[in-house]
Amino acid sequence: MAKIESGTREEVRRLVYEFFSEECEVPVDQLNDGTNVIRDLEGDSLMFLELLEVFKKKYGLNVELKTVGKYVVKHPAETIGAIIAMTMLIIEHENRIAELD
C-alpha cells in the first residue's frame, strides 16, 4: 500500500488534469471535475491504461490491471473527478481495491 501524504491528492489531481489536457489537446482551464472523458473529450480505454501506468510507475504501485478492471465494472469512472477519486483509491489500496464495495 502506498503512503498517502498530504500533497498526494493535489499531485494526483494536477497529473490527471495535465494528462487529459495533453492527450486530448484541450487547455487545462477548459477541463473540470465533471468533464466526461469519453463523451466530452473523445477519450478511450487506452488513455486510462496509460494514466494507470503513469501512477504505477510514479508511486511504485503493486496493482493488476484486471483487479482495477473488475472494480471499474462495478464503479464506472468516466468523469475527471471520478477518475481522480478512483486513482486515489488505487494508490491507497492497490490490489486490495477489489475488496472494496
Binding site: L49, L52, K66, G69
Partner: protein
C-alpha cells in the same frame, strides 16, 4: 493543409473513387465508410512520408499497421502512390466479395494479458486474435455473435475496456486464405520494386528487403493475424530509438506506451518538435560535417 497533402488528394481523386469533399469536411480522415477511411489514412501517411523525406529524415525501418502496409511500401518506394490506392481498392473488393453474407465482427479488448485473451478466443472456433497491439491491447475477430460474447467474458475477467468496432470486413483473418491467393495473383502482375529501406512484416516480424518478399507480405497481410507488438520489438531490438507515426491521430504513439524499450514515438502533432530537435541533421549541420 500542406502542399503535399493537396497534391496527393488531387491524385487520389483522379485515380480512385475518393470522396475529397467528405475528407475535407471531417478533417481527421475518420470516415464511416471503411474503404474511404483506408484511402484517407493512406493519403495522409504518404503526405507525411513526403514531408519526412524532404526534411532529410532517413528511415532505417518501416512497418505498416494493418492496411498501413501500403503506405510503408510507398515510403520505401516499393510501390507508387497510385499503385497503393489500387492495392487498397482491390484488397477491399476481394475481401468484401468473399465475406458477403458473413456477419463478421471485430472487437478490441484492453487490460487483459495474452494468456487471458487466448483462453477467451479458444472457446469459439471462429474467434481469433487478429492483432496484438501491445501487452494490454488486442483485436479479436470472428462472427459478430461470438465477438459480442467474447467481449462480455473479457469484461467479467477484468478487462478495463472492451469495444465492438465498426469494422465489418475480415482483414487479417485466416478465413481469407483463398482471397490471399487471389490477391497474390493480382499483385504478381504489378511492377513492385525492392524496398529502399528495410520493412518489418507485422505478420511475423521478418525483414522484407526484396520485391519478392514484398509480394509475399502483401498476400500474408490479407489472411494472417498480425502482431504489432512483435514488429515494434523487432525494430527496438535492432536499435531503433525514434519512431515517426505517419498517419492521422496518435494511436500508435499511445499503443507504444506499453511496449518496453528506450525509444521515442513522434506523432503528427509532434513533427515540428522532431524537425527542430538535434535528432535531425539540418542543412547547416550537414555543411559543417562536410567541412570537418
Amino acid at each position: 493543409m500542406s502542399g503535399d497533402l493537396r497534391e496527393l488528394l488531387s491524385r487520389a481523386e483522379a485515380a480512385v473513387d475518393f470522396d475529397r469533399v467528405e475528407f475535407e469536411r471531417r478533417d481527421s480522415g475518420d470516415f464511416e465508410d471503411e474503404l474511404q477511411s483506408q484511402y484517407a489514412a493512406y493519403i495522409i501517411s504518404c503526405a507525411l512520408s513526403n514531408i519526412l523525406k524532404r526534411s532529410g529524415i532517413r528511415i532505417d525501418y518501416a512497418a505498416g499497421y494493418s492496411m498501413g502496409l501500403y503506405a510503408a511500401l510507398f515510403h520505401a518506394e516499393s510501390v507508387a502512390f497510385e499503385q497503393g490506392l489500387d492495392l487498397i481498392t482491390v484488397a477491399y473488393e476481394m475481401i468484401r466479395s468473399a465475406a458477403t453474407g458473413i456477419d463478421f465482427g471485430t472487437g478490441v479488448i484492453s487490460g487483459l494479458d495474452n494468456g487471458d485473451i487466448r483462453s477467451i478466443v479458444s472457446r469459439r472456433k471462429d474467434l481469433e486474435i487478429i492483432n496484438v497491439n501491445n501487452r494490454h491491447s488486442f483485436l479479436i475477430a470472428g462472427f459478430s455473435s461470438s465477438v459480442t460474447r467474447a467481449l462480455k467474458t473479457a469484461k467479467k475477467m477484468g478487462a478495463l475496456n472492451t469495444k465492438f468496432l465498426d469494422l465489418k470486413l475480415p482483414y487479417h483473418s485466416t478465413a481469407m486464405r483463398d482471397v490471399s491467393r487471389e490477391f497474390y495473383g493480382y499483385c504478381s502482375g504489378m511492377r513492385i520494386y525492392d524496398p529502399s529501406c528495410c520493412i518489418i512484416s507485422t505478420v511475423d516480424a521478418r525483414e522484407i528487403t526484396s520485391w519478392e518478399d514484398v509480394l509475399g507480405d502483401l498476400a500474408d497481410n490479407i489472411y494472417r493475424n498480425i502482431n504489432w507488438l512483435a514488429a515494434m520489438e523487432r525494430m527496438v531490438s535492432a536499435g531503433v530509438d525514434a519512431f515517426v507515426e505517419c498517419g492521422p491521430g496518435k494511436s500508435l504513439y499511445r499503443i507504444s506506451q506499453f511496449i518496453e524499450g528506450g525509444f521515442s514515438v513522434y506523432h503528427l502533432a509532434m513533427l515540428q518538435d522532431l524537425l527542430a530537435s538535434d535528432r535531425v541533421c539540418s542543412h547547416e549541420d550537414a555543411l559543417d560535417l562536410r567541412r570537418a
